[in-house]
Symmetry: C2
Subunit: 569 residues, 2 copies
Amino acid sequence: MGWLRVALCQVDAVVGDLDGNVRRVLDGLERAEELDADVALFPELVVTGYPPEDLLLEPEFVAASEQALAAVAASSGECAGVVGYVADSAGLRNAAALCWRGKVRGVSVKELLPNYGVFDEQRWFVPGAGDSPVYRIGGAGVGVVICEDAWQPLGPIGRLAGAGAGIVLSCNASPYRAGAQAERQGILVQRAVESRCAIAYVNLVGGQDELVFDGGSLVIAPDGSLLASVAQFREDIVAVDVPFVGDGPEVRPGLVEVSGARHRRGGASPGTITPVLGGDAETYEALVLATRDYAEKNGFVDCVVALSGGIDSSLVAAIAVDAVGASRVHGVAMPSRFSSVTSLADATALARNLGIELIEIPIEPAHEVMLGLLAPSFDDRPPGVAEENLQARIRGTLLMALSNKFGWLVLTTGNKSETAVGYSTLYGDTAGGFAVIRDVPKLLVYTLVAYRNAQAGRDLIPEQILTKPPSAELRPDQRDEDSLPPYAVLDPILEAYVERHATVDELVAGGFDAAMVRQIFDLVDAAEYKRRQAPPGPRVTSRAFGKDRRMPITNRFRSGGPPGGRASP
Amino acid sequence: MGWLRVALCQVDAVVGDLDGNVRRVLDGLERAEELDADVALFPELVVTGYPPEDLLLEPEFVAASEQALAAVAASSGECAGVVGYVADSAGLRNAAALCWRGKVRGVSVKELLPNYGVFDEQRWFVPGAGDSPVYRIGGAGVGVVICEDAWQPLGPIGRLAGAGAGIVLSCNASPYRAGAQAERQGILVQRAVESRCAIAYVNLVGGQDELVFDGGSLVIAPDGSLLASVAQFREDIVAVDVPFVGDGPEVRPGLVEVSGARHRRGGASPGTITPVLGGDAETYEALVLATRDYAEKNGFVDCVVALSGGIDSSLVAAIAVDAVGASRVHGVAMPSRFSSVTSLADATALARNLGIELIEIPIEPAHEVMLGLLAPSFDDRPPGVAEENLQARIRGTLLMALSNKFGWLVLTTGNKSETAVGYSTLYGDTAGGFAVIRDVPKLLVYTLVAYRNAQAGRDLIPEQILTKPPSAELRPDQRDEDSLPPYAVLDPILEAYVERHATVDELVAGGFDAAMVRQIFDLVDAAEYKRRQAPPGPRVTSRAFGKDRRMPITNRFRSGGPPGGRASP
């Protein structure tokens, strides 16, 4: 048994930043050489960033990807680099080249192209033909696979093992969702054991619009044991001595010879295992990284959050502070005639705890004037949703004015429960650039606040914000529970429908009230038009709104059939 | 040579309206029997509507599709019906069943699944295995293909012809874009000639979110000549006597026998050809149908449009009137301190010409109050974009208040040129439910207005609206040309970049100024975040924003390289 030193280069490649990504790769190769690594392994499509989406339809972008790869190859030295890029070869290919001593030595092409969930790879790519090379590096047989390729039993990894690979290098851009890391590790253990290969798995890290990549790169031994893992949610380059079974392949035709003479035997260093964060910590870190990267990659220095004194905006403000620092976060309190006496006090206490600026703009003068402007049209009709939304839209308008004047990124504060049922005002509280918690259900909002307070060792988010009943405060004594079931009832129903495709009938069979379930499903269906105009926010659950759930707006389908039962034609 | 009477059932199936779609099919079958047709042909996925998108991931929806097909089959009589539905058979299939005398007689499955442009069919469907049956109907050999299947030379149609089909029935949901009908006809002529089959092609008609289906169903003879065509942009059921070469297949194993004995020879009626509208008429009708269907399918009775006195809002108002009727369209004029003296007069003249209500709400009181609320934060900074956008957002807020109070659908008025370069205010003029002309470039706005005026035989849209220079009127004496090149320069650049993937270098080589082209490309790239929050609007060009062009928001790629040339790493 020999081993190979593999540098897991868990970098935050930026979509479209080809020059920057080339620098990231060359820096990684340099660090890998310092670590005396034989191979440096980078994430999927590292030179373009992931997912490049329809940039792939621009020929100039594809040419730039190939130029970037050539630049990396030309600068490669003694440590081989496995570098993901877009290859233009009888169609576009999601590829990874092995670069060594100034040249590309071979190219592996992704064979299994995911086209479900948040993935659209069949829109752009042609699959590999299954003829990726096996390299001989330091005496070891080494194959390269890309992301989804590792997910098929006896698939590409099995074939590479059969062709002499004892170590498989896996380039990935696998987005975060709760539980993803455990699932990945389980899959890789299966592949390692069935193929008797060690697997070095490098994942992308960083936020990209609706996705956040969690890193968590790892190495699995041929017996399925975890040899090493890298921290989640941050960049790192870690060298791991990766063992392989047997003596490695003999030199033979079809095998690509790379530093073949440099055998490593005995004396392998044990790898370091970084525990998986899991649970609330993991979700919280995902939200922080997603927010930081959205701001920084889009050129924002400061963020602004409307602070209502409620728990959603408090959580968003705390995340913003952890993402970009308190001095770069601005709170805005915009009380109305319906704001409770405690709301402003709570917002003030929160801002003080977080150490952020608080701007106060009472909206009453604008509210009154606009009601007056509308009065001739409204003509003594009783007040309702129009008047309620008016206040939220005045707030959205003021917040956007601050954003326009100072270049601040507006973070919206709607949670997943509200987003699901449309309990929000379009162009009001939904107005902004990044929807930090739009995939966080309300009950999880509470949990994350409790987690953050526990982590701080104090009530960073004041206790009274956690205990008061949720309210939009758009009419006197309004409570969320006037319009919606309690979140302890609502959230499980939403999770069942949105994440698990449950039907009205299934939920009713599970003991929920039929009329209530039907009402909630109808609210979710009817709010699609609002979600379509909402800003992007990071996915953290198993199924988010946005590119993960592509429902038509115009849609007459209703689970459980139309009211009165499904009519026969 | 014999013939078969085929009823082209060009219906407006509604996504998710399974009961309604079953009724549409049964009504079509009844009409087809009245017309003494042998076969009634319906559009692709007629029982679910197209595209059902992620409804396809809901098992209840798939089951409902199969139930709907069973209901149609049970009611089918002497006239066979070719009915598109979703089949659940080792994965989901985009299928069309032939129903006759109470039963399903065979199922054809789509083989070529488009996954480009606005299409995502590989997200949901498994392709057919190429074993669709050949039926014998009235002595003719008949095969069925679905949409994309007709686009491959010697593909599914060639195989069906080889297996005895003399007539191919083609079910389609092919969305409109300029020139689509000519392209379709050209493709079908090729298929007919190469296979020696007649092709009866039925297309869906109606609006669905970002798509509008134009109908234009047609029949091509085996020699490639056009036998009959149906009008575009409206429902119709037309019977055509479709000839086939030879005597039709003998009864043999593998051939599905359907009304085999009912030979038709001689006496075929000539078909009626409805000329393709083409040009501006076609685009205009597409916009009208898209607007009418978005409103009606989403339950809106009335529409509301902000009338600035400019040409964009004038065109949208005219389209709205043609879509839902003048009594159901409400204009709102919201002059500000910067509105020119003629703006309100022009809006008033337009409303009078169109016969629509005009509500007048001067925004000055709200404008002044909100500037006052912001003054402590803005702190004597010079006025700029923040103050400009404020006015647009006050208008958006007032318009949405009217929408909330009266249930009116807000139609936004941004054209494609503005949408491309981000010359719009998010939550201001982009606020609304349907963006009627978001795929219409500014120069085409002028053309369409001229077309509509010519059609009316008078200046329905007053002459002065066509001749005044475009202005957002958000600061004194503002003109679009202060910020942008003249539209005669801008539009061709945008068309080249957005629709044809042109590069900065190519446009500069074509004689455009380098700095200007680069600025425009940068504006387009930077406005992606605004477009992501814009309401849906119908595609009419070869490539629209929205699902047709899926660019990342976070994106550092710049055509022509970064300023100063592409840096070497």
